[in-house]
């Protein structure tokens, strides 16, 4: 169980050749082996959603997936949202709407919204609200997160999504 396997993870368009034990979670591999610490762990049993990333555009809990299962998938993390110094519209909506305080749950919410809108750009506002209730935040009381997500939804409806870099 502790013997390491060589795998390649494709994260934000870049290949990471890493060696990790089969039992290592995707979240731990991203953080420790790929140096991408923007993905946070809040409960490690799939409830809080802080570790949400996208794999092939689907939001997933990276604490509930083994790194070896993600090989060959298109993995996206919060670090991939901005283009250089330019924040994505979704990131900017979070700032403008005061949708974060401590910022620990924020990457999970961003990737949940990002994946949801990529998969279902025509989602209804109520359905989006419903999906947002799957992640926990302890600082904001959620209303500003919902507002930022609504703005992202409006933005998605009025623009053609760019293919991920």
């Amino acid at each position: 169980m502790t013997d390491k396997t060589a795998i390649t993870l494709t994260v934000n368009g870049s290949d990471h050749h890493i060696a990790c034990a089969p039992r290592k979670t995707l979240a731990d591999a991203l953080r420790e082996d790929c140096g991408l610490t923007g993905t946070h762990l809040g409960c490690e049993h799939g409830v809080c959603g802080a570790c949400t990333i996208t794999v092939n555009d689907a939001p997933v809990r990276s604490c509930l997936m083994f790194a070896v299962q993600a090989e060959g998938g298109d993995i996206r993390t919060v670090e991939g949202l901005a283009k250089g110094d330019d924040l994505s519209p979704l990131q900017q909506f979070f700032i403008d709407e005061h949708a974060l305080q401590c910022g620990y749950c924020t990457p999970g919410f961003l990737m949940l919204i990002e994946g949801t809108l990529r998969q279902t750009p025509d989602i209804s506002e109520d359905e989006l609200d419903e999906i947002l209730s799957s992640n926990l935040c302890r600082c904001t009381g959620y209303r500003n997160i919902l507002r930022a997500a609504r703005r992202a939804l409006d933005h998605a409806r009025t623009t053609t999504p760019e293919p991920a870099a």
């Binding site: 946070h40 809040g42 700032i95 974060l100 620990y104 904001t140």
Partner: protein
């Protein structure tokens, strides 16, 4: 350079603006650096072995299998040797020393989750593997005490599980009850909760044997105090230890206290001569980090025929859990010290039974003692109104302390200071709150829906908060030659937005852009003193110290600028990051002024070199913001589920530095308040096994449980205790949530006095309804 059109309005009037936060950019980009994100070369990973038993004598700790694992080191209390115990921060109540928690259990375990051993390994997965092989054998000798009202037991031979009974009061309570037209008595309780920040706790320590210096990353809340205590415990000079606050994923009072794990990680680094990293998992967090809130109150009021309170008598049983931690008996003490809120109470007698039980130790959690106390006091006000058949708001108005009575000496103490209500217009706020939420329309709507068969009701909770706890804060402000402004404070940031608020105060005072400010906090190597972030103190204490330092810098910059601009200092204004001669429009930037004050600059003359100033703010009294929560709920009588449909909070903050951030504090606090009112509770079985150690069992509100909230921020009663009139806003969203929800549920079910306990879970509501309708008391 000449500026032809000087702005009419000051461009740097940042105080009062809802600007976006300086903190946010790295956090949305995944560039935050939380303690788990940090590593040191050759670090070991620690894992704590925790007691699976609530109480009993340790007969054996079998480490054989872990000891045999390559690269694994295991310490028990025996192997660790004598370690000084973590002392108290709140020291007024003496005699608590026997109850302090050892860093690893000695001879006995006293709650499930108590650290019994620590494992160090090369890899965190291996540390966890090794920890799971360690078997703690415990002989159950006495059944665990799980109710603070049960008779006290024996903590140690000759030492009771009731360390202290705190008593407070004034006036002739007995005479008041004898003369009362009515006596109203309630028996109330609040459940066991905690702050549950989304980021679990963590610590990373490195010992530099050559320099004899210890660094600890992962500190927050009270870095300087924690540094000083670690120095004492390790026999080191405070100059040989530095604590560093990285990004912190929420605190809410429970995070950043000096915990056993912090001490163990430091000792590991010093003794094993390798950096040690420890990050807890969620399950251990729920069993190990401070709990809070669990109290039982027996409260009686003596009232005259017109509804004036004559006296209050209160008996509190406070469930402290298994040990006394850094706060001593502070929460029990302030629960009765701040219980009376906004009301005039001529005579008062209270006693707080501070009792140990076989549960995770308790301490402060956002609005400690006030969430509980506001629930109790406002339940009492509603019960008095019901007894006298009086409008509950009118009853409150009759008992409010008036504006002409401010400052109002309570004759009580809390947090080691005299309670003196500094300013407030309680009656005025209640009127504004009613108008703001549309009280009469809400009442009419609820009545109409009840007539149509729905269980809909409205409740109000009025509260007085406290903020701006001293004693002191020190700030150093420096303007660099590029015009950037560095503000260093010993206060801390747990995500509340303090960098932005402090930058707004500095930039407003200096006439600069707030985005040119960089606020450094929680670093003991950057400033000599600091009191951290708690008790809604940072905007008040660091804010005023910042204003003072910035004022000095402003005057020194203006003096230098006047010479550079060949102007009278009185003709020079600082705004927009530069000094302008109002007579000519000529200007120089703050950076150019700082360059002119360089130690070797020929322009400096005899002026003090550099553009840096320090200032202290000392404050012996807290200030007292206040407000009202108003809730509209619907109860599903089939399932017992309560839905919060609408919510309004009116809050007087004295002076609002950033209204959007204050709204954020209130909204976030309310989510925790609603959690405590309806969902959250640490439950235990009869053996003391915790039943709520995952997010599937300890239910925190999600976005689906959060209503739209209307927030009214008022500035009618600025604090006279600081020149900007600042009061704090960190706790206002929590304080009266339990009170308002309880009253709303009573109203929805048209059963006054129904709710006597929080949280109002469906199970509780079903049982309580049956009891109430059978004519039983709580």
């Amino acid at each position: 350079m000449t500026d032809a059109t000087l702005p009419n309005a000051r461009r740097s009037a940042w105080i009062g603006q809802s600007v976006t936060r300086l903190e946010d950019r790295p956090l949305v980009a995944g560039l935050g650096r939380f303690v788990a994100d940090m590593d040191r070369p050759r670090q070991l990973h620690a894992r704590i072995v925790r007691s699976p038993h609530a109480t009993g004598r340790i007969t054996d700790i079998d480490c054989a299998e872990a000891d045999a694992m390559p690269g694994v080191t295991v310490w028990t209390a025996e192997r660790l040797g004598e370690v000084p115990r973590i002392p108290f921060r709140a020291t007024k109540i003496s005699g608590l020393e026997p109850y302090v928690q050892p860093v690893l259990a000695v001879e006995r375990v006293r709650y499930v989750g108590e650290p019994v051993a620590i494992v160090f390994a090369e890899d965190p997965y291996v540390a966890e593997d090794a920890a799971e092989t360690i078997f703690v054998d415990v002989e159950d000798d006495n059944p665990p005490i799980l109710d603070a009202r049960a008779a006290p037991g024996t903590f140690l031979p000759g030492i009771s599980t009731e360390p202290v009974v705190v008593e407070k009061g004034y006036g002739d309570v007995e005479a008041a009850f004898a003369a009362a037209a009515h006596v109203v008595e309630l028996d109330l309780a609040t459940g066991r909760h905690s702050g549950i920040p989304m980021e679990p706790r963590g610590a990373l320590a490195e010992w530099d044997a050559g320099r004899g210096h210890l660094d600890l990353w992962g500190a927050t809340k009270r870095p300087h105090w924690n540094r000083d205590r670690l120095a004492e415990m390790f026999g080191l000079s405070p100059t040989c230890i530095d604590l560093h606050e990285p990004h912190v994923g929420g605190g809410f009072g429970i995070r950043g206290e000096l915990y056993p794990e912090d001490v163990l990680v430091c000792m590991g680094a010093m003794r094993l001569r390798r950096p040690v990293k420890w990050v807890e998992d969620r399950r251990e967090h729920m069993m190990a980090a401070n709990h809070s809130r669990e109290q039982q109150h027996l409260i009686r009021a003596a009232v005259d025929a017109d509804g004036h309170i004559l006296a209050i008598d209160e008996t509190l049983h406070h469930d402290q859990g298994a040990y006394v931690r850094t706060h001593g008996a502070r929460v029990a003490d302030m629960s009765i010290g701040l219980l009376l809120g906004p009301y005039r109470v001529p005579a008062y007698a209270a006693r707080a039974h501070f009792r140990l039980t076989a549960k995770t130790p308790a301490a402060t959690y956002r609005a400690p003692g006030r969430f509980e106390g506001s629930f109790v006091r406002e339940r009492l006000m509603d019960a008095i109104a019901q007894r006298l058949a009086m409008d509950p708001l009118e009853l409150r108005r009759r008992n409010f302390i008036g504006t002409s009575e401010m400052p109002y000496q309570r004759g009580l103490t809390a947090l080691e200071s005299e309670v003196v209500l500094d300013s407030g217009d309680y009656d005025g706020l209640l009127t504004k709150a009613q108008d703001f939420c549309g009280w009469n329309d809400m009442q009419a709507e609820a009545a109409a829906r009840r007539a149509a068969g729905e269980a809909v009701g409205i409740g109000l909770g009025f509260f007085v908060e406290k903020s701006g706890l001293g004693p002191s804060e020190l700030v150093r402000v420096t303007i660099a030659t590029d015009g950037e402004i560095e503000i260093v404070t010993g206060a801390a940031s747990l995500g509340q937005g303090m960098e932005t608020a402090i930058a707004q105060i500095a930039a407003d005072t200096l006439g600069a852009d707030y985005t040119a400010c960089r606020v450094i906090h929680g670093q003991t190597d950057r400033i000599t003193h600091g009191w951290g972030a708690h008790a809604s103190r940072v905007t008040v204490m660091t804010g005023e110290a910042t204003r003072r330092a910035a004022t000095e810098l402003h005057d020194r910059a203006r003096d230098m600028a006047a010479e550079l601009l060949d102007a009278l200092p009185t003709d020079v204004i600082l705004d927009g990051g530069r000094a302008t001669n109002t007579a000519t429009g000529d200007h120089v930037t703050l950076g150019q002024i700082a360059a002119a004050l360089d130690p070797v600059s020929p322009r400096r003359g005899d002026r003090q070199p550099g553009l840096s100033a320090e200032a202290w703010f000392h404050n012996t009294h807290m200030n007292y913001p206040y407000g009202a929560h108003i809730a509209m709920v619907a109860v599903d009588t089939e399932t017992g589920r309560t839905t919060v449909e609408r919510y309004a909070i009116s809050y007087d903050v004295g002076r609002a530095v950033n209204p959007a951030m204050i709204e954020g504090q209130i909204l976030g606090g309310l989510a925790q308040g609603l959690g405590g009112a309806l969902l959250e509770e640490f439950r235990y079985d009869q053996d003391g096994q915790p039943l709520s150690v995952t997010f599937a069992d300890y239910l925190m509100p999600s976005s689906a449980e959060m209503p739209e909230v209307a927030i009214q921020i008022l500035e009618d009663a600025p604090s006279p205790l600081n020149p900007l009139g600042l009061k704090g806003s960190g706790e206002a969203g929590v304080t009266a949530a339990g009170a308002a929800i309880a009253a709303a549920i009573d109203d929805a079910l048209q059963r006054p006095g129904l709710v006597t306990r929080l949280p109002v879970t469906p199970q509780y509501l079903h049982a309580r309804l049956a009891q109430f309708d059978a004519g039983g008391d709580a």
